[in-house]
């Protein structure tokens, strides 16, 4: 009798396990349909893993945006993609790449502590995320409460950056790294566009240097896009950004190497880089970069 109950118990466990794995499969299938709808070709597992690695190497927009604040430039919402434009993005490609654009705009707004604009752009980010079935990473009320409870928006900045990171990790786990690739490209394009606008307006050399450093990031973005060479949208982006690369090639970045030193400060390990980078970024080249990235961005935002 005891054995009978034991067998029933074991079978019940198996049934639960089988059903839970089926429901996960169903969900993954839904997502892969979304991924396929904007892509004519699937990528291999190895390419997908490579793309995942490259995505991890690309700095989020916040790094470039923080330089904009340091330049002393005042807040200018006119250079951003208007938040009420999101309705016109109908394909998953347009939604994903503009989600990246709006994410970068949100980072810019957060840095300048403009709460009203931040909440408006957050709404747009949530709308596009929900359309792409990744809305679970942004809870408006929670983020608004964080913004309300803080004098500055640092916490909101950290939450939104970390939510975008979670979204990217999730998309890769769900074999939807193409969506992640679009978001990342859009975010990088927007951050570079804004940096060029502000840099040229302020004639700010540190910002020129930051723009020039994007030569290295661009190589990573192009490598990422090349993983999706069968995707027509990725190919167009790749070709456009390859044009930009020819401009970036005019920039010189040289490193003079020196051994790093390590010290313990307050129980923490601190590594001091004794090498230095020499960047030669003439203003006319920055203008060319600005023109090229503006043209690419115009195509993206429509």
């Amino acid at each position: 009798m005891k054995n009978k109950y034991f067998i029933i118990g074991l079978f019940s466990t198996l049934v639960v396990l089988i059903f839970s794995s089926c429901s996960k499969k169903q969900s993954a299938d839904d997502f892969s349909q979304i991924a396929k709808s904007d892509s004519s070709g699937q990528i291999s597992q190895a390419t997908s893993e490579l793309a995942g690695q490259v995505i991890k190497s690309i700095p989020p927009p916040i790094e470039m945006q923080s330089m904009i604040l340091s330049s002393g430039a005042t807040y200018n919402a006119d250079i951003l993609n208007p938040s009420d434009e999101a309705e016109k993005y109908s394909t998953n490609y347009h939604k994903a790449i503009n989600l990246g654009i709006y994410g970068a705009d949100l980072a810019y707004i957060n840095i300048y502590n403009h709460k009203e604009d931040a909440l408006s752009y957050l709404n747009t980010v949530i709308k596009l995320s929900e359309d792409l079935k990744v809305g679970q990473f942004f809870d408006f009320e929670t983020i608004k409460r964080v913004a309300d409870n803080n004098k500055n928006l640092d916490s909101m900045l950290n939450i939104t950056t970390s939510n975008f990171e979670k979204m990217n990790n999730y998309l890769q786990e769900q074999n939807r790294s193409n969506i992640s690739m679009y978001m990342l490209t859009g975010g990088w394009v927007e951050a570079l566009y804004v940096a060029c606008k502000v840099g040229l307006d302020k004639k700010n050399q540190p910002l020129y240097d930051k723009i020039a450093e994007q030569k290295i990031v661009l190589d990573q973005v192009l490598l990422l896009l090349s993983c999706y060479k069968n995707d027509p949208n990725a190919k167009i982006l790749h070709d456009d950004l390859h044009e930009l690369k020819t401009v970036f090639d005019k920039i010189k970045i040289e490193t003079v190497y020196a051994e790093p030193t390590m010290v313990e400060e307050n129980g923490q390990l601190v590594v001091k880089d004794n090498s230095k980078t020499i960047i030669i970024a003439p203003e006319d080249v920055i203008k060319e970069i600005s023109n090229s990235i503006s043209a690419t961005r115009a195509k993206i935002i429509g």
């Binding site: 034991f6 991890k56 700095p59 950056t161 990790n169 450093e213 990031v217 190497y257």
Partner: protein, 137 residues
Amino acid sequence: MRLVKKIAVIVGVVVSIASYAQCNTEPMVQKCSGKLGDFTFLKVYKIDKIKTGESVEFSYVFSGNTSYMLSLCDDKGTESGVEVTLYDSNRKLVSTNKLNGKVYPAITYNCKSTGIYYMTYSIADVTCGVSVLGFKK
């Protein structure tokens, strides 16, 4: 009785596979993000697909005149279960968190030279870990 044994083995295998695959990284991400202090959150690197003795590599474009922090956490909360070795764009060793017999739970890197850097992670006596990258101008 044979049938019972067979089912027990199957259930055991399924459960152990499921538990191996489920390394809950979220609490570690929270903990590691908290270690960043005044550094701004940038990226999460999950070290959840390797075993002791193996390693996994990630890369990131570090920017000159910027400080970066790589905080490290593991599933057992040992503060020493994850090791990271940082290499510059020429694959020259920059640093590791295991120094002079001590394992540090984070590395701060005051970067002066822009370029792509490589982080090689390994684990010891833990199942998995995470590393969170932050920056400060």
